[in-house]
């Protein structure tokens, strides 16, 4: 198969790569400011990204509920899963301070932020503290955001993969896209003054809970680090890849939303194993899995497992609410559906939970308070290196990126990308893959990548010799993949590009982990078993400059 090439260049002020929640909010903000905006989304913005089917916890600060002591609010949010290390204090304050603004915007476009009629906060909070996670109904959020973006004049191009950024004199001037709507892929060139990378995290980098089924993932399995990889190739700094950690949820059926469960983390006898609560609480949820998501793995490894989500003491009313309201709002009602199809009664039966493998979430492009990277015109939101906040962090930073981009594009001239040398180079590369009549399927390369990441940069043991070998094996895998990967249609071609992007993210992660000569969190170095206090609060960044890789530990801001 050959690749088609669209003659017309798409010209815009602001190209948004990825129409998830962050990308949509950026588009709306930029559209409101009157600049020309195009979203390139590889699926369909109505059902794409981590919030494809909903969400029900929006971390936010509402002064009428939480009082005027902003520093108290910051301290308490910093104790939840949306705070903690590896988030710049200024960025935490930024998204928290503007979180209510987005909540009001969402309510105005028809997303039900108050299903009970009042501001209702549940889950993810430390008992004794105020609660900050707004319990809302996100079932229609992507549809509503799509409609609003269109109303602001945003052009949405669905089934559009973006694979490369085009730079000129050190700033971004466009991108190379691939339309996958037809069986035969088509190259589409974008000319843009600013680009937002909002492609989410990087799922599928490590083996999942069922390695044979790579899409059994608690995050959106379409999010494969495309933005991270493009950023690396463009000389953008990324932060904290080495500190990526894992989520938790039902074992063998990887779902996010553990905070939606109303139950107790229990042993096989049904006895609660954590000190945080002694009866199931709709208000506090299961904070144990937020505080110690690795508990399920740890307890299994030391012989104390298995560990269960135990809802047998939850009231009928709360169970009904959890299964038929909360899980629906959160978009994880495939759990409800599977339980119903199998006639599992949570009043009698517990569900085993597991710790999921390492996934890239709050690690990625290192941004400033305008959501811009070190490369002029390249913005990032959603899964970035120095902001947490889950959905709230993603959409507030998305909004900031949209506003900042609208100001930025007025300060730079349009640069023609028609003869950009990278275009011919990439088309030749795409053609090589597509014109092969036989070769390696993307899953072969994907499986080996996952094995290498797990065995040489995994969650259990890390060391210099493992990294040295792992990086050598990754280089071999990449070389062999470039020689042999092939695709018979645009779907497979997309998966090939995803797999190659993941290899670059994995390589950067391993280089950074090798350079972190200490033990911290899930980064367990057997050759450096202590935690280096001098690195407390420091953020490690990686940047490619030509053929060199620059690593740095920077101070927080």
């Amino acid at each position: 198969m050959s690749i088609k090439i669209r003659n017309e260049i798409i010209k815009t002020d602001f190209l948004i790569v990825g129409g998830g929640s962050a990308g949509m909010q950026a588009a709306i903000a930029a559209g409101e400011k009157g600049i020309d905006v195009v979203i390139a989304e590889k699926a369909d913005t109505r059902r794409s990204g981590s919030g494809a089917n909903g969400n029900d916890h929006f971390a936010c600060y509402i002064p009428e509920c939480h009082g005027d002591d902003f520093e108290l609010v910051i301290r308490q949010i910093d104790m939840t899963m949306d705070g903690g290390p590896f988030q710049d204090p200024t960025m935490l304050r930024l998204w928290v301070s503007r979180s209510f603004e987005v909540v009001q915007k969402w309510e105005a476009i028809g997303i039900n932020m108050r299903p009970t009629g009042k501001w209702n906060f549940e889950g993810h909070s430390v008992p004794g503290n105020q609660r900050y996670h707004l319990k809302y109904d996100g079932t229609n959020q992507k549809m509503a955001l799509t409609k609003e973006a269109k109303a602001k004049g945003v052009k949405i191009m669905n089934k559009m993969v973006v694979n490369e950024l085009l730079l000129d004199q050190g700033r971004v001037v466009g991108a190379i896209g691939i339309d996958i709507s037809d069986t035969q892929p088509e190259v589409v060139i974008f000319q843009a003054k600013a680009v937002l990378l909002a492609t989410g995290g990087a799922s599928r980098l490590y083996p999942g809970i069922t390695p044979q089924y790579m899409f059994n993932d608690c995050g959106c399995p379409a999010n494969t680090g495309a933005g991270h990889a493009m950023a690396l190739r463009a000389g953008v700094k990324l932060a904290n890849l080495d500190m990526a950690a894992g989520h938790a949820g039902p074992r063998y059926f990887a779902r996010g939303g553990k905070g939606t469960w109303i139950g107790l983390t229990s042993d096989i006898n049904g006895t609660c194993i954590t000190p945080y609560q002694d009866k199931p609480s709709r208000e506090n949820g299961d904070i144990a899995s937020d505080i110690w998501p690795g508990s399920y793995r740890d307890r299994m490894q030391c012989g104390q497992g298995p560990t269960y989500m135990n809802c047998t003491q939850t009231t009928d009313e709360d169970l009904d609410y959890m299964l038929h309201t909360a899980m629906v709002s959160e978009g994880i009602d495939s759990i409800t559906d599977q339980l119903a199809q199998r006639n599992i009664d949570l009043r009698k039966e517990m569900i085993e939970f597991g710790s999921y493998n390492i996934g890239i979430g709050s690690q990625g492009v290192d941004i400033d308070t305008h959501a811009m990277s070190n490369v002029p015109g390249i913005f990032a939101a959603g899964s970035v290196g120095n902001v947490k906040g889950s959905l709230a962090g993603a959409v507030v930073i998305g909004m900031v990126a949209g506003e900042s981009a609208a100001d930025y594009v007025k300060t730079v001239d349009e640069v023609s990308v028609e003869n950009h040398p990278l275009i011919a180079e990439k088309i030749a590369f795409y053609s090589e893959i597509l014109e092969r009549e036989s070769g390696a399927h993307w899953k072969e390369a994907g499986a080996t990548l996952q094995n290498i990441m797990n065995d040489y940069a995994g969650a259990n043991v890390r060391s210099e010799s493992l990294f040295a070998a792992g990086l050598a094996y990754l280089a071999t895998l990449k070389e062999e993949s470039l020689k042999h990967l092939y695709a018979t249609n645009s779907h497979e071609f997309m998966r090939v590009l995803e797999t190659l992007d993941l290899m670059e993210v994995g390589e950067a992660l391993m280089i950074m982990a090798r350079n972190r000569k200490e033990t911290r969190g899930m980064h367990k170095r057997v050759d450096y078993t202590y935690t280096n206090l001098l690195l407390n609060g420091k953020f490690q960044t990686i940047q490619r400059v030509g053929d060199e890789v620059k690593l740095e530990f920077r101070s927080p801001f």
Binding site: N53, R251, P306, R342, E349, I351
Partner: protein, 74 residues
């Protein structure tokens, strides 16, 4: 093979193929086909958005949730 499309109810509108977040469903000869079943995320977007309620989700045995009665009594 998740998801399951009921051919009697399906009107081949193509909406499921359009909105699937992981590009699992394709239109082939004007028919919605679950082309890449092992890439399904089981998110139920197709099931929820199908205008004819023609889609149901089947959860493969590889995705089995593990259930257990507490050994301690209750």
């Amino acid at each position: 093979m998740p998801p399951i499309i009921n051919k009697k109810k399906c009107v081949s509108c193509g909406y499921c193929a359009q909105i699937c977040p992981v590009d699992v469903i394709k239109m082939e000869h004007k028919e919605a086909v679950v082309k890449y079943p092992d890439e399904c995320w089981h998110c139920r977007a197709c099931e929820k958005d199908c205008p004819k309620n023609a889609i149901t989700m089947r959860y493969p045995l590889s995705h089995l949730m593990l259930n257990m009665k507490p050994l301690g009594g209750k």
